[in-house]
Symmetry: C2
Subunit: 330 residues, 2 copies
């Protein structure tokens, strides 16, 4: 079962475990409990009418004398494609904009400062087909395309750059580690070295491929780098008109597999929110007190104890074609 039959780990545990046991299980799986956010009832009504899940949690930090709390609200959006992948391109884009607009309005009601959509949110995840048309028609100008113009109504947007850039915003320093980049611990590290306090990871990944990695990678990155990480995945199955193969020895098929949602936010103190459902569109609102980053850094000191000069030397050696591995033989 890597499909939609099963809503979520959290729902299952809450249904079956007695309260005291549930608390222990959550402590081990999710760390210090996140406080439920008191979101406006109107937001829940809109979410219910719009048929998507709305959840809100807050990560707290200790009070400091010289800095007030630096709270920021982030919104993570996961969604299905509202129209099938063989509908006309313009209609698909317009339906996606409309769907995201509904969810973004609720995010605004919830006081969200920074919103992050899923990877390739303006199109079906057509890369798996390895076809060009019509998918290339979903491409737009990042400077003045319709999606950029749409986003400029309500949300934050900034173009990319080379290396591991971090964006200084009025709400904190943020970075974006796209999809597959989450598998490389050094990507997260370099964003953190450049000062990121929140790293977003918009992804598109399916159950049979990665579901048991999903709770581990962004979480480990938050722990290892004393920062917040936001992991966002798509929802649902997307059917493509032409069949394609996936290089796994299996027969050609019309879908890539089931995108299992489960978007979540992880904190530097190894706590995390529950995940959004596996089988439903959703908005996860998380209030982060960014002071927690330095507070955890002061306790664990991974940045101070990391021997980055040694790693830099060792890596520089290791990439040379004639590198001789440090192997001790009997």
């Amino acid at each position: 079962m890597s499909g939609p039959e099963w809503e979520s780990l959290e729902q299952c545990l809450e249904k079956h475990l007695p309260p005291a046991e549930l608390q222990e299980v959550k402590r081990i799986l999710y760390g210090k409990e996140t406080r439920k956010l008191d979101l406006p009832s109107r937001a829940f009504e809109f979410a219910s009418e719009g048929d998507f899940e709305l959840q809100g949690y807050a990560f707290e930090a200790a009070e400091e004398q010289l800095r007030g709390p630096r709270t920021v609200r982030v919104g993570l959006v996961q969604n299905r494609i509202p129209l099938p992948a063989d509908a006309p391109v313009a209609k698909q884009v317009s339906a996606l904009h409309s769907r995201i607009e509904t969810i973004t309005e609720v995010a605004a009601m919830c006081g969200v400062n920074i919103i992050c959509f899923q990877e390739a949110w303006t199109m079906p995840f057509a890369f798996c087909t390895r076809e060009k048309l019509p998918w290339t028609e979903f491409a737009e100008s990042a400077e003045d395309g319709p999606t950029t113009r749409f986003c400029q109504k309500s949300t934050y947007y900034m173009e990319g750059d080379l290396g591991h850039p971090v964006f200084q915003t009025q709400f904190g320093r943020i970075a974006v580690n796209i999809c597959y980049g989450r598998h490389h611990p050094l990507n997260w590290l370099m964003y953190s070295v450049n000062g990121a306090e929140i790293i977003f990871n918009p992804s598109a990944t399916i159950g049979t491929l990665s579901e048991s990695m999903w709770p581990v990678e962004a979480r480990n990155a938050a722990i290892a780098n004393h920062c917040f990480t936001c992991a966002i995945n798509r929802v649902g199955k997307e059917y493509f008109p032409n069949e394609f193969t996936s290089g796994d020895g299996k027969k050609a098929h019309h879908d890539f597999g089931y995108f299992y949602g489960s978007s979540y936010v992880a904190a530097p103190d190894s706590s995390r929110t529950p995940g959004l459902p596996r089988n439903r569109d959703g908005l996860l609102v998380a209030e982060l007190n960014l002071n927690l980053c330095r507070q955890v850094n002061d306790v664990w000191n991974f940045k101070m104890t990391g021997r980055y000069d040694m790693y830099a030397r060792e890596l520089a050696e290791a990439v040379k074609p004639n590198y001789s591995r440090n192997i001790v033989k009997e």
Copy 2:
């Protein structure tokens, strides 16, 4: 509850979840199910007499045409200190040797090729007291001390070195990432770059400090580096004669906290074994087919897609005192 009241996550889930739900929860938390190893009944009898937990699992790999399975059995040992920390030093060492001998005999019955004990297994974990005597008396020569001589009877041992050395043994290439080293993703990476197929992480860590990090870090390392990792923790509470403080603003105390065991093995395909209990000595036997490392590498290609030359350059820059962080401002 970060103490011994609670045996394990696995026991709780197995007690309360219906079979079909349990299977889904395990799939998400532990990945592809590990097969239970058929260990000799005599081994279970000895473990029961010796009052320690014995569990065995096998990680399997696909059959290959040119290589046979390369299976190796590893043994992870977690244990309390058998005598209180204020007993005479020689008696403590001798009781520990005797306890470990019992467990090691069972490991031998189970066909274990490589055994790994917990960090600082020949003494109480006295570092937290910051005292010298009598703890320095537990130090021994690594070349011909009683512990080395004891280990030479049955087990594999090789002295340390500088950098991130990997040891080529007849059972595969192994490395040891000691305790706190698990928090640095780059340590695991460098062992892996040097060819490690199994990385052991002997640790000593307590519930209030790290229990929600424990299932994440070694697991992420196995995924990110296409190798097996073995995470080993102590068990129990250790009382020291003189009170000491822990720099956390709390009153002086006689113990460091509760060591929660929960030792486990993680595989490159993101699967893992259940953990040993939180509150009981234990031996975890895991049969690893090392062919899985290259097989997973061939699917995910993190080594090929890692831009190590870029990281090496970026890190070399980042450690310079005048480093200017890559921050894009509005």
